[in-house]
Structure formats: C-alpha cells, structure tokens
C-alpha cells in the first residue's frame, strides 16, 4: 500500500529494477513455457520414438515369427522328404533282403533235395515223437565231417575245454518236460559236433554260398538317423510292415506268438486291463508263455502283433540288432516278423561261453508303458549236456557244468508291482509329447507271479500267481530246488528267507546272475569252477535285486518244516518299503 501511495517516489533505478523483474518473470515464464513445450515435445518425441521402437520391435518380432514359421515349414517339409526318402530306402533295402533270402532258400532247397536223394538208401534215425515245433524237424543231418570246418585251435592260450564231442543229449528226452509249448530239443541231431572256437570262421553247412561280406549295393540305410526333436524321434520310430528274417534256418524250436489285451483278475481281487503275449496253448494268460530253448538250438519266434506296433526283445539274449527287437536300432513290426537266434553253447570251466540261465522277453515299444501293461514272459535257456557232466534222472543242470537241480520243484518267482493308473492308456501314450505321467510310477498293487514250472495252470485268462513254495531238504535222491528270480518290477526289491518267527535263514545259494554263472576266475589258464564247487558257495538269507535282473538260487533249507519267503518292494528314490508280499516255503 505504501508503495501505491508513493508512486512518484519510485526512483528510476527502482523502476528499472521492477521492469527487469517483470521482464525476468516474463522470460522465466517464457522459458518455462518453452521448456515445457520442449519437454512435451521431447516426451512426444520419446513417446513417438518408443512407439516407433516398439513398432519396429513388433515388426521385427512379426518378421521373426514369419521367418520362423517359414523355416519351420521348410524344416517340416524337409523332415517329411527325409522320412519319405528314408522309408523308400528302407523299403528298397528290405526288398533286396527279401530277394536275397528267396534265392538263398531256393539254393538251400536244391541242396537239400540233392542230399536227400543221396541219403535215400541210408536208414533214417528214428524221429522223436510229439513235437510242438511247427516247422519240420531240422534237415541238417550231420554231413559226417565232410563239410565240417576244421576246428581251429583256440583263440587264446586258455586251455581248450575237452568237450569237443558234446554228445547229443540222451537224458533230456527221457525226462518228462514240464513245459508244453517249448519242449527243448526234440531232435537228437545236435548240430554241435566239434566245437569251432571261432564262430565266424565256420562256414555253415546249410548255407552253400560263401559269406559275402562286401556287398557293394547302395548303403541300405542312412548310417545314422537324425531327428528334429525328441518328439520327432519318439513318434517316428522305424516301422516296417513285414521285415525279412535274414538267413532263415530250419528251427530247432519255433514258437508262434501274438498279442492280446484283456481284463484279468489278480489274486488280491483286482481286475485290471492287461496286455501280453499268447500262444495256441497259453491263451491270454499272464505273464506270457514260458519259452525254453536249449543252448545251440536255432530258435525262431513268429510274432504278429494284432493291435498297434510291438516288438519282442529277448532280454539278455544277444543276437544281431534285427533280432534284438528294439525299434530305434532296427524296426518295429507293423505286420509280422520271425525272430531268429541261437543261444551260445556253454563250455565246462570256461567263463567266456554259454547262455544257460534265466531270462525274459518283453516288448520294447514305448517300453515304460508296455512292460508295465504286462508284455513280458519268462525265457529259460537250458544247457547242452556235456559227457563229463551227465545228468541224473529227474534232474537238470543249471548250466553246462553247473549243479544239478530237481525238475519237479523248480520254481519261478516274478515280483511285479502295478500302478493301475497306467492301465487303460493308449499304446502310444506320451509319444507325441503329451505328459502321460510315465515318469512317475506309483504302484498300488504288489504281486508275486510264477510258481512251479512243471505245474503252470493251462487255463485261459488266468494270472499265474505264486501261492507257496516247496523245497527239498538235502539228502535222499532228490536234488536241490532251484528258484529262478525274475525281477519284472520297476522298483528295487529285497528277497528274504526266514523262519516262521521272522528269523533270517541263510538257505539261498546264489549260483548265477543274468544268465551267467558265478565262477572262480582267479586263475588264468585254468578252468574256472562254479563257486560252489570252488569251495565257497555264496549263501545268504537276503538278496537285493532291481528291475530286469535275474538270479538263480539253489535252496538249502536246514531242516524240514515251514519257512517264509518275503519280497519287499522298495521306493526307487528313498528305498522305503512301499509294498511287501510273503509266501510260505515248505521244506521236506
């Protein structure tokens, strides 16, 4: 107010000052406005730039998506082309194989005729009677050494076992064999006369053509298959309609297997969908039929899976890849195929040879699911009979120079646990990349399958369950009881032998594992005796085993009476007991 009363008193300086202030204020305002405008402009610019950037990113992303889509399309087209190419190549290779086989068969047929004519005058050996073998008996009469390969001396300094003239097993035929389908060796002519030490060097008497290893025709299959992804691999396993059996021989043992699926009732009342194998005289039983060839026999199994792709892997048998039954190293069977292999013969005291023992066969397609669904059965290889190791009546040897056991009480024990959640899925569950939960096996039923091999029920749609065991007490004429443990379970298991009060009884002598005997191999250049014979039988009351292992165990109960056999099913991570089964063992 005073100022307004004294306007005239303002000095020029003051005026100037006021003016300046005003100007400054104005300028400030202007600057601020300008700054604001600038800021806004900048913000706009930034926004614009961001928008452009985002736009560019979007476009880039779009481009990338397009490029990727195009690339994916190209890849898929390429993959398709490659698959078709591969399929063509495979088909061509199979066709070639088939032609070759055809020619081979013709040649063999001609040779056979000639031989038959030559032999027409000679008396024929009596043909052994009832043979389940479907194909005609072997037409490989021993050509009397004329075509026999020179039994070349052994490969190493190792002592050559004295066995060469392994006599055709006379014992086997007199023993009533418990197993219907798979009578081992119905024919005396043992193709095994002098033992060639070096398998590859022995020209086959049947195959008149010399081996022709260098076939200059196109490489039949890509040396290595390549896939775009795990799903691509899993959902595109090799599949062949009717693959040909190479160098198909006349079999000594032939079985005809097919696939079945049905609901089965288990001993705890559970009714569950199962898949497995069947033969004409074992219909829809679980596990699959026992197959029991003898060392040295040519074994063939015809398999025609009726629903979906399957294979048969002869677990522990070691043939060539085509007969090994694995999709990704050979083929899955869409139509039919005849597997062929010949279990190697044992030699006494030699740890390098021989296959006699306990095995199993199982499907190897989407195995996690298919084996759990039940696609397996027992496979036992019996030894050849060596002249130095004759066999008593009613007995058999576990391997060529192995201990004798009592045929009547020979028992198969198959731990198997079941997760019912998995039963009811599609054959190809998980293969297209969907989460089928197959990594998580949570069994809710625990079974002991099997029983006395001489007494498998022959019915239809039955589960072969182990109800109790018998075991011979030492002494008397009976040999010991052989227990064959086949672990068809996905979990670790513990097998215990105990008395009725639960006290451990070390009655189990472990003689073989995975089809190979335990031998003392400590002395190179000397025979390797079976452990029992070498003076330290491995006896125990407890035995651990895991999935797919097989153990051959001779039972030696200390005295007559009742015992218990316990199988614990353990967790595969924590080792906790998740299930348990106990059966009675009666020793007499």
């Amino acid at each position: 107010m005073i100022e307004s009363l004294l306007p005239g008193k303002l000095t020029a300086r003051q005026k100037k000052e006021a003016e300046r202030k005003k100007k400054e204020a104005l300028a400030r305002k202007k600057r601020e406005a300008e700054a604001k405008r600038k800021r806004e402009a900048e913000a706009r610019k930034r926004a614009e730039s961001r928008r452009r950037h985002e736009e560019a990113m979007r476009r880039a992303a779009e481009d990338r998506r397009k490029r990727e889509a195009a690339a994916k399309k190209r890849r898929e087209a390429e993959a398709k082309r490659r698959r078709e190419e591969e399929a063509r190549r495979k088909a061509a290779a199979e066709a070639k194989r088939r032609r070759e086989e055809e020619e081979r068969r013709k040649r063999e047929e001609a040779a056979r005729k000639r031989r038959e004519e030559a032999e027409a005058n000679q008396p024929k050996p009596p043909s052994p009677s009832p043979s389940p073998v479907v194909t005609p008996p072997p037409v490989v009469p021993n050509p009397g050494g004329s075509t026999d390969p020179d039994p070349t001396p052994t490969e190493t300094a190792a002592p050559e076992p004295t066995d060469p003239t392994s006599s055709p097993d006379p014992v086997e035929t007199t023993v009533p064999d418990p197993v219907g389908t798979t009578d081992p060796d119905p024919t005396p002519p043992d193709t095994s006369e002098p033992e060639p030490t070096d398998p590859p060097s022995s020209p086959d008497p049947v195959d008149t053509t010399p081996p022709d290893p260098v076939d200059p025709v196109e490489p039949e299959e890509e040396a290595r298959h390549r896939f775009d992804s795990q799903v691509d691999f899993s959902s595109n396993q090799n599949e062949l309609e009717n693959p040909v059996t190479e160098f198909k021989q006349t079999p000594d043992l032939f079985v005809d297997l097919s696939f079945y699926g049905t609901d089965l009732r288990f001993d705890d009342g559970a009714e569950v969908e199962m898949w497995s194998f069947e033969t004409a005289d074992q219909r829809k039983n679980f596990p699959g039929p026992l197959i029991r060839p003898k060392e040295g026999q040519i074994f063939q199994a015809h398999f025609k899976p009726s629903k979906g792709n399957h294979t048969i892997h002869w677990h522990g048998m070691e043939p060539d890849p085509r007969n090994d039954g694995v999709g990704h190293t050979s083929f899955e069977i869409a139509g039919e195929y005849t597997y062929q292999w010949q279990p190697e013969k044992g030699r006494p005291g030699d740890p390098n040879w021989g296959t006699a023992g306990t095995y199993f066969y199982h499907c190897h397609v989407n195995t996690t699911l298919h084996v759990q669904m039940g696609m397996f059965g027992p496979l036992i290889i019996d030894p050849i009979v060596h002249e130095d190791y004759p066999v008593s009546p009613g007995a058999r040897r576990a391997f060529v120079d192995g201990p004798e056991y009592d045929i009547d009480t020979e028992t198969l024990l198959v731990p198997y646990s079941m997760a019912t959640r998995w039963h009811g899925m599609n054959h190809a569950a998980g293969l297209s990349g969907e989460d089928a939960g197959l990594n998580h096996f949570e069994p809710n039923h625990f079974y002991l399958l099997g029983g006395e091999l001489a007494r498998r029920p022959g019915g239809k749609e039955t589960v072969w369950s182990l109800k109790s065991l018998r075991a011979n007490v030492k002494g008397g004429s009976r040999k010991r009881t052989l227990l064959r443990l086949l672990n068809a379970n996905y979990l670790p298991t513990v097998l215990r032998f105990q008395d009725s009060w639960g006290k451990p009884v070390p009655m189990a002598e472990v003689i073989a594992h995975d089809g190979r005997p335990f031998r003392d191999t400590s002395k190179p250049g000397e025979p390797s005796l079976p452990c029992g014979e070498a003076g330290y039988p491995m006896k125990t009351s407890i035995l651990r085993s895991g999935s797919a292992e097989r153990w051959d165990v001779l039972l030696d109960p200390p005295s007559a009476g009742e015992y218990q056999v316990v199988v614990e099913f353990r967790h595969w991570i924590t080792d906790e007991i998740v299930g348990s089964r106990t059966v009675r063992l009666v020793a007499s």
Binding site: P319, T540, G546
Partner: protein
C-alpha cells in the same frame, strides 16, 4: 606360474582355441584342441536367445528388463543386497552392487530406460571385462590374506582351478528350460544365455601342472569319433581284431576332473549364490572321509586342497539339504588315475582299450522352481518326482547322438557312445598284467550315479564284466553277499544296478554278440548298434512321455575295418 596353468586360470582363454604356443602345434595330440562343441549349454543359449530375450542379448550377463530373473534372485537372497546379481568378479563382494543398481532402476524409471540401459549395458560389460581379467589376482590376494591354514600353504605358482557356483537355466531334451545350479569354471549370471554350470574337463598332472584337456592321458591320440581303431586283424580269429594296447586317449565328459596319483588338487570354490554352498569330494579325504570346503558363505570363496586319493572315481557334490542341492545340478566326478599305467584302473587291476565315464542324473523341475523363486525345498514333504533323466548331461536322442546338431552328436559319440571293433575276449586275462590277454581286452565303463533314482543299466548285445563298486575291487574268488543283500563278486551282468551316489565299473568286451547266428555275423557289413538303457523304466521318459527320451545311449560294434591300420603303438 608356468604358462599353461597361468593361461588356464583365465577362464576366458583356456577353453577357446588350440592356440597354445608350442604345445598346440602337434595336431594329433589333443592337449589343447577342442571344446568347441556346445553341448547342452550352447543349446540352452540358443533357446534363451530365441525365447524371452530380445535379439540384442549380450553373451555376457546383461539383466534384461523383461526377464524378471533379477528380482527373483533378490527374493532368493532374502537378506537382500549384493548376492542377487553379483558382477563378474565372483569373489569380489564390493563390486557386486553395480549391476544390481542397473536392474533395479529398470523396474522403476519408465521412459528413459530404452536409451539409458543400452549405455549402461555397455558400461557394465566394459567393467566386467576389466574385472574379469583381474579376477585372478584379486582372488589370489584375498586368499593370501585368509587365515585358513590350507590357504596359507598356497604359494602363488601352484595352479588352482577356480570353481564358480553359478545358477542358470538349462535346456532339457524337450527344449524346456529348467533352473539349475552348478559347479562352473567361469562366473556367469542367472540369466546368462550360456551359463557355466559344469566344469570343462581338467587334469591335475603328477608334475604339478593343471591342464584343460578333454582327453586323458593328456596327449594320447584321440580316437576318431570316440572309436578306438584296431591295431590289426586277429589272425587266429577271422573277422575280429587285436586292439592297440596303451594307445588311445579317452574323452571325458563335462563335470569330470582328472587327477593323477601324486598330484595335489586345488579348487578355489566361489559361492556366487544367495545361500550357503559347499563342495565335497565324497570319500576322497583321509580315511575315506569327504574332502570338503565346508559351508561357503554367499560371495565368499574357499580353497580346497588335497592330495589325490587312491585311483578310482569320487563323486563331488554340494551335500547341502540332502539331496536337494545335488539334484539341482551341483555334482560332478573326480577320476584319479595312476600315470605310471594310465590304461588300467590302477596298476595290477583291469586294463582297458579306453574308458568311458558316465554321469547319471535326474532332474526335478518342481524342486528347481521352488529354489529358483528363493524358496527352500523340504525333501521330506515335497517328494522328488524327477521328470528328466540324463547321461553326461544329455537325454534320449541327444544322448544317442541323433540330433541335427552335429557338434552335440559328436560330443555324444566321443563321451558316451561306447564303440569299438569286435575282438575275442578272455575274461580271465583282459588285463591285470597279462601280456597277450590284454590285446583282446575290452573297454572300461565307469557308471556314476550323481542323481537320486535307483538305476538299472541294461546293455543289449554284450554282457558286461563288473569289477568294482564304490572303489572296492570285487574279487575273482570268494565272493559274498553283504548284510544288505548286495552280492559282491566279479561277474557278468546285463543289468547293472546303480543306486543313488553309487559308482560301478565294468568291462564291456565288445565281442561278437554270442547269440547271432553265424551266417548273419559273417555277412555283416555295417555297424551293429545296440541300446543301453536304464530298466527302471520310468527313467526312459522325458516330461512324462516321449519314450525313449531319458537315460539311454547307444553302443556300437563297428563294421569290418577298412583300414589303414595306423599308429606304431605296441
């Protein structure tokens, strides 16, 4: 410090090229050349780059605005501060905050970010580059000042392998990314496109050197694609071969440290994570105790120094929160060899043509996610449900070398796919000092289960002869069943039990498959490939299906050799 070890200590140089002066000139020798294969880590990088990260993702760890991993890491720290995103220095606690401020501002400020982060990033990478070169000296001076008696013993010219406990994401066989921790050989960040979660193979030599070599013995000829070629035909066994005795080198997989008997193993273990961690070499200490760093606090490092234990295989892992840290990826194996006879398990024990080290592992992504978000898994209440099963870090078709990535296939061939030419095998004298017998010997497979599930290693085509379990030699006579029911005796097996943390050693004969008929064998003109797979069948899956996408491999009996025979080896 000699030149080689000096160079080795620079994590950026040691594994790159074969350019190591004088040593590198011999091409036939594998001392330096290699490790350009990307294996899993490399693929993981691709997956990351193509996935969440924009195209300009730097190879070095640059926190990405979109990737929330930075904040996750902070959560993980719980107690905040530097542990989340330590810079490249690893051991350096002081510098650790730098990068964090970077990622921290990202979240807050809005518009400026675009331009600013870019410059920031540059600056960061620069400093990172700087600090990395300094890492060694820095760390060394630190450890010198440490009061730890072992550290005090260390003199500057003794080579040390720096081990970095890192975290990151690995690509599984189905391309999904799963959080892992691992013992790496260079410091990397959680969101690194190529995290270092496995040590590339190193060898502590008896003479005191430390070298980076995938091949042992160092300098031995590399078997082409992993396959030892034969010495010549076995005239007494047509179609079969005599092997080169004491000739071929063996490729080691990632995570394997080799130490020669008489050497001193020195690992400086840097904990770059938010929680305490530890590196223990199980059974490698005096009297079979674990040799361990003890708990290492976040940001700290500890020097572990020990004399190489007896020849054998020793798992190393972080035993923390058993078995969680190991399952998250903190595992590997120490292989001790006797350099006086490096083609034997130990002098007087099984001899082999070459050896294969197989590390089995099982991955549980649920556990991984809990830990990635900063939680702590309680293994008793949160039961493990593994979803991926690996062999040498690979599963399914990757492990079989059947991908379209040739480098990956090659790594599988060299490290996993057992292969060789058929030979007559004599189990009574494949080694153990026998002169003639060893020419017909097999290959050694060392199966090491660093995971948690009970594996059953099943080989098609040949039975294997098992000689050792957990560094205990099984006898050739007088076997026994132990009190737990395990049978201990040298034996043939087609299924080899391998429980968690167990080591089994077996000889694969590579012989003619015994049950193939003669005609088929004689007409053979291609490789015969067989599967090896675990028979605890759940391990054959990936992500709940995709059989056979789990712990599996192939092994190969080679087609007739076309020559020429080479190598003057015995």
């Amino acid at each position: 410090m000699d030149e080689r070890s000096a160079n080795l200590n620079n994590p950026n140089d040691n594994l790159d090229e074969g350019t190591m002066g004088d040593e590198a000139t011999d091409a036939a020798v594998s001392r330096w050349g290699f490790v350009k294969y990307g294996a899993i880590a490399g693929l993981g990088a691709l997956a990351l780059a193509g996935g969440q990260q924009p195209a300009h993702a730097q190879p070095a760890a640059t926190p990405e605005p979109e990737a929330d991993t930075g904040t996750e890491a902070k959560d993980a720290a719980g107690t905040a501060t530097e542990t989340g995103d330590p810079s490249g220095t690893g051991a350096g606690t002081g510098t650790a905050t730098d990068s964090e401020s970077g990622s921290g501002t990202d979240a807050g400020t809005e518009t400026e970010v675009d331009t600013e982060t870019e410059t920031e990033t540059e600056a960061e990478t620069e400093t990172e580059a700087e600090t990395e070169t300094e890492t060694e000296t820095e760390a060394e001076s630190e450890s010198e000042s440490e009061t730890d008696s072992k550290a005090a013993r260390e003199s500057s010219d003794e080579p040390v392998l720096d081990v970095y406990i890192n975290e990151g994401y690995l690509k599984m066989v189905d391309d999904s990314l799963v959080y892992h921790r691992g013992f790496g050989d260079r410091p990397t960040e959680k969101n690194d496109a190529d995290p270092s979660l496995a040590i590339k193979p190193r060898v502590f030599l008896k003479d005191g050197d430390l070298v980076a070599s995938r091949v042992y013995p160092v300098g031995a000829p590399e078997p082409p694609h992993g396959t030892p070629e034969p010495k010549g035909p076995d005239s007494r066994n047509p179609g079969q071969y005599l092997i080169h005795r004491a000739y071929w080198g063996s490729f080691m997989p990632e995570r394997v440290i080799v130490a020669e008997k008489g050497s001193t193993i020195r690992l400086r273990v840097h904990n770059r994570l938010a929680k305490e961690h530890e590196l223990a070499i199980h059974g490698a200490g005096d009297d079979g105790e674990d040799a361990t760093t003890g708990k290492i606090a976040p940001g700290e490092n500890v020097l572990l120094e020990l004399d190489a234990p007896d020849p054998g295989v020793y798992i190393y892992s972080d035993p923390g929160n058993q078995p969680v840290e190991r399952t998250l990826g903190l595992y590997g194996a120490l292989v001790v060899m006797d350099s006086s006879d490096p083609w034997c398990i130990a002098p007087g024990l099984a001899e082999f043509e070459r050896q294969w080290v197989w590390l089995a592992h099982a991955v549980d992504p649920v556990w991984a996610n809990i830990e990635a978000k900063g939680g702590t898994v309680n293994p008793a209440t949160q039961r493990a449900v593994p979803r991926y099963f690996t062999l040498n870090g690979r599963s399914g078709y990757e492990s079989m070398g059947m991908t379209r990535d040739e480098e990956l296939n090659r790594a599988s061939d060299e490290e996993t796919t057992i292969s060789g030419y058929p030979r007559q095998f004599e189990v009574r004298e494949f080694g153990e000092g026998s002169e003639a017998g060893s020419l017909r010997g097999g290959q050694l497979v060392r199966m090491v289960n660093c995971g948690i599930v009970f594996h059953q290693m099943h080989f098609h085509g040949n039975h294997l002869w098992t000689v050792r379990c957990d560094n205990e030699d099984w006898k050739r006579s007088e076997g026994y069943v132990d009190e737990d029911g395990y049978l201990c005796f040298q034996q043939w097996e087609d299924v080899i039990r391998l429980k968690g943390m167990e080591v089994k050693e077996s000889i694969i004969p590579i012989k003619r498959p015994p049950d193939a008929i003669d005609q088929v064998w004689n007409a053979r003109n291609s490789d015969w490939g067989y599967p090896m797979h675990c028979h605890s069948e759940s391990s054959q899956t990936a992500a709940g299906g995709m059989y056979p996408g789990g712990l599996t491999a192939h092994w190969i009996i080679k087609a007739p050799f076309k020559g020429p025979y080479k190598g003057a080896g015995s």
